[in-house]
Amino acid sequence: MTWEIVIGLEVHAQLSTNTKIFSGASTEYGAEPNTQADAVSIALPGVLPVLNKGAVERAIKFGLATGSHIAERSVFARKNYFYPDLPKGYQISQFDLPVVGQGTLTIHVEPLSGNAKPYEKLVRITRAHLEEDAGKSLHGDFQDMTGIDLNRAGTPLLEIVSEPDMCSAAEAVAYAKALHTLVRWIGICDGNMQEGSFRCDVNVSVRKPGAELGTRREIKNLNSFKFMQQAIDYEVQWQIDTIENGGKIHQATILFNPDTGETRAMRSKEDAHDYRYFPDPDLLPLEISQQWINDVRATLPELPKAKQARYVNDLGLSAYDASLLTASREMADFFEAVLGVVPAQAKISANWIIGEVSAQLNRDGFDMAQCPITSQQLGGMLARITDGTISNSGAKEVFRTMWAEGGNADAIIETKGLKQVSDSGAIESLVDEIILAHADKVAEYRSGKDKLFGFFVGIAMKASKGKANPAQLNDILKKKLAG
């Protein structure tokens, strides 16, 4: 019996403002506990929130980047509940009037099962709203007590809610990754998942095809894509097993334990909070003028989809290459910077970045921002490939050297003597020698054994110590072997 999986995500993206959403305290990560907790963060009696415009601008950017409706007027509401790391006893959030309304995000799905092909899918975004983060409860360091660190209290968050449009762990992960790329691309969130800058809550339910939506359980606070996939896989199986064994799914909030790979209920719907939302009387409704939106739009970088279209239409790249090059802003920026050095060499630039550069980054565990080779270095090397100075194999040698030791292509080519021989006279005499030395093979070739051509290329290249210009060598070999 088959089951349909229904997944929706709520993502909390920490906005990259220097100060908190409702006060001037710093948002920098990793400070000593409570050193970034000002009067507002501590919620002293009498203090009031003042909205950080930078947080609003980032929300607008997100709305523009996802083609979402941006509300002319949205309202901050208080979400009331008691918890020691929630200093006011309420969280300032947005409830029925969020700043960002419906939009969409295109995701690129790499199916997990071997044979299926990658595909694209449009996921609907329900809304995105601004809110403040809570502080942290620190258990463990204080005998029988809990410590409270309010540094994070008041950090601006954009909570991005999707429609339940994903129907596999792969799609959920693809959506989370696309969102992760986007928020970093438009510079509204540093995306650091280890530090909690990008946290995902995943709502999972299963149903029989055509049936009504099943009861969902919400997996809270996933901070890696790997855990997300594991958690969803486990949860889906658990739900299917439960139902098939005659059980019922009850709405619940659950946590994923990465050590055991299991999910566990945190609280059930029965003890769900009544948050008593109401408009925060300390804050005026947030009004966003068309002018403000236009001003923010002017600061928005070219978005991945637009770039992909341009790469395909103007640069002649394949759609696949274009999507790989726009996997991150850093990658696209690097590609475009390389093109600045070798204009009109889009294809070879793309190949090298998608191929060697990405592979080497992977091997070294670096991301694009940590790439030891500059666009100037790579472009310089590509210029030497395209002008015939070095062969592809020579280029690989240059690349390895650059990666490990630095330096520019010309210097490395010089030191290592990698300049390829394009002198046709030299290549001709080399080919003549080979023909003389391998008269038997030449005879076989001439009697129709075409496959031997590769053999001649191989020994000729070897004889030239790899420096012969391959195209020239091919031409000359062909001509001379033909007799």
């Binding site: 002293l44 009498g46 009387p281």
Partner: protein, 488 residues
């Protein structure tokens, strides 16, 4: 000196006829003598007050003295003042020494005024008699068996008893005007947003407004000039051009149109109060005003609407008092939930708990639409009533409170009776309008009666003019409670 106005005190200080230290000490001595009978202060700190007085004297000596420099002013204990115990009348904050100054405290400090002490008040400003204070009831200086009104009862009593010339108050549903009326002084609640709420401990954020309390409208104008001003730390603070609230004081009143809402003179109003108010209206006719009958049809709903909205906001505003970071924490508890429950049950008084429960209820799932949203709609209707009325008149007048000061304990068992004490003041807060109360005579028990003057938005200068002209023609505001003349 105790009978002198703020302007006279300022003149004397700048003319070096008296120093700020001397003036402050005079008041502190008078407080020491009379306050035990009134309980108008929660905190006095002679050292801090005199230190400010010394600084003021230095400033006066250098010729840098401002209108309020060196003048002692009592501050309602709802305002955070750096280094001062700030309790808000609650056990919950019995140990809270504020690390920062409220906006208005900074304004007074910048003007060189002296903080004379923190005045008693109903707990978290919830009350109309000052009986909900954790620090004991304030007594009315006119009759110490009677209430001073509330919640700014300490400030009203201290001004009435001449323990200071001026004090600050806050008004969420009448908490400046009603005690001003019951104690026979003048008090002004400005237009919502005119005075920053920063550092003023929140009761109901959309209604709370700080204002001055003094003997005369002239003094109120001087105080208001210091208190107002845009403050970027309060998002509801209004950015307006600075105006001098004293500039219109001497304008004659001929042509003034006074609206009398029939709803303010209906059942529930005591006869003696009605008579005093009518006599005052007659005086205004003498001064050249014309009387226009108006109606505020929705004002009858203002008490029920207020007792939905104010507790709703309060239930959330008071959530921060949880025993975790500051303030009262129960000495014994078993776990987190128990710590919250015990700290809040022990730290809050009955009236505060009642309002937290009402507020929690009206915001709850399934009740929000029926109570909170409905009340918000009626709130808009009440405001529209005033907008309509101001098409026909310049100011609205009526009684401040339906009765004069009642006996201590008289309404203790019946919260609704207590709530009706603010029946004429609450609509003003719901509409965000400015309102004031000035003394206009005495009732049957020789207790003061207050005349309420309600202005249009930002019409404080005209209201003060209207009040001042009346005070030039009458002397109710200069009457002194018998038996409290003290040591002058």
């Amino acid at each position: 000196m105790f009978e002198s106005s703020l302007r006279q005190q300022g003149d004397a200080l700048r003319a070096k006829k008296i120093s700020s230290v001397e003036l402050t000490q005079l008041y502190l001595d008078r407080i020491a003598a009379l306050n035990p009978r009134l309980n108008a202060f929660i905190t006095l700190n002679q050292d801090m007050s005199l230190a400010q007085a010394h600084k003021a004297d230095a400033r006066l000596a250098s010729g840098q003295g401002d209108l309020l420099t060196g003048i002692p002013i009592a501050q309602k204990d709802i305002f955070c003042a750096k280094g001062w115990l700030t309790t808000c009348g609650s056990k919950m904050l019995h140990n809270f020494v504020s690390p920062y100054d409220a906006h208005i405290i900074s304004q007074f400090n910048n003007a060189g005024a002296v903080n004379l002490g923190k005045t008693n008040m109903d707990e978290f400003a919830m009350g109309s008699s000052n009986e909900t204070s954790h620090y004991g009831t304030v007594k009315n200086p006119w009759d110490t068996s009677r209430v001073p009104g509330g919640s700014s009862g300490g400030s009203a009593a201290t001004v009435a008893a001449r323990l200071c010339a001026a004090a600050t108050g806050t008004d969420t549903g009448g908490s400046i005007r009603q005690p001003a009326a019951l104690c026979g002084i003048s008090g002004l609640k400005p237009t919502y947003g005119l005075v920053s709420r920063y550092g003023m401990i929140a009761f109901a954020s959309s209604l709370d407004q700080a204002g001055p309390m003094a003997r005369s409208a002239e003094d109120l104008a001087l105080l208001l000039n210091t208190m107002v001003g845009f403050d970027e730390r309060d998002s509801t603070s209004l950015q307006r051009e600075v105006e001098d609230y004293a500039c219109n004081l001497n304008k004659p009143l001929s042509g003034l149109r006074i609206g009398l809402p029939k709803e303010f003179f209906a059942d529930g109003l005591d006869n003696d109060v009605a008579q005093a108010v009518e006599t005052a209206i007659a005086e205004y006719k003498n001064l050249g005003a014309t009387i226009i009958d108006i109606t505020l049809p929705n004002s009858r709903l203002s008490v029920p609407v207020y007792y939905v909205l104010a507790p709703a906001e309060a239930s959330s505003n008071l959530s921060r008092f949880d025993g975790v970071r500051y303030g009262y924490r129960a000495p014994e508890y078993t776990d987190l939930a128990d710590m919250y429950e015990k700290s809040r049950s022990q730290g809050f008084g009955e009236e505060v708990k009642r309002r937290i429960m009402i507020g929690t209820y009206v915001l709850s799932h399934g009740y929000y639409d029926a109570y909170y949203l409905q009340a918000q709609k009626i709130r808009r209707l009440i405001a529209q009533d005033f907008t309509e009325a101001y098409k026909h008149c310049d100011v609205i007048m009526g009684p401040t409170s339906p009765s004069t000061a009642f006996k201590l304990g008289e309404k203790g068992d019946d919260p609704v009776q207590m709530y009706l004490s603010d029946i004429y003041t609450i609509a003003v807060n719901l509409a965000g309008l400015p309102g004031m109360s000035i003394p206009c005579g005495f009732g049957e028990n020789n207790m003061p009666v207050g005349l309420q003057i309600i202005g249009n938005y930002f019409d404080e200068a005209r209201m003060l003019n209207v009040a001042h002209q009346y005070q030039l023609a009458t002397d109710w505001h200069n009457r002194v409670p018998q038996g409290l003349q003290g040591n002058e």
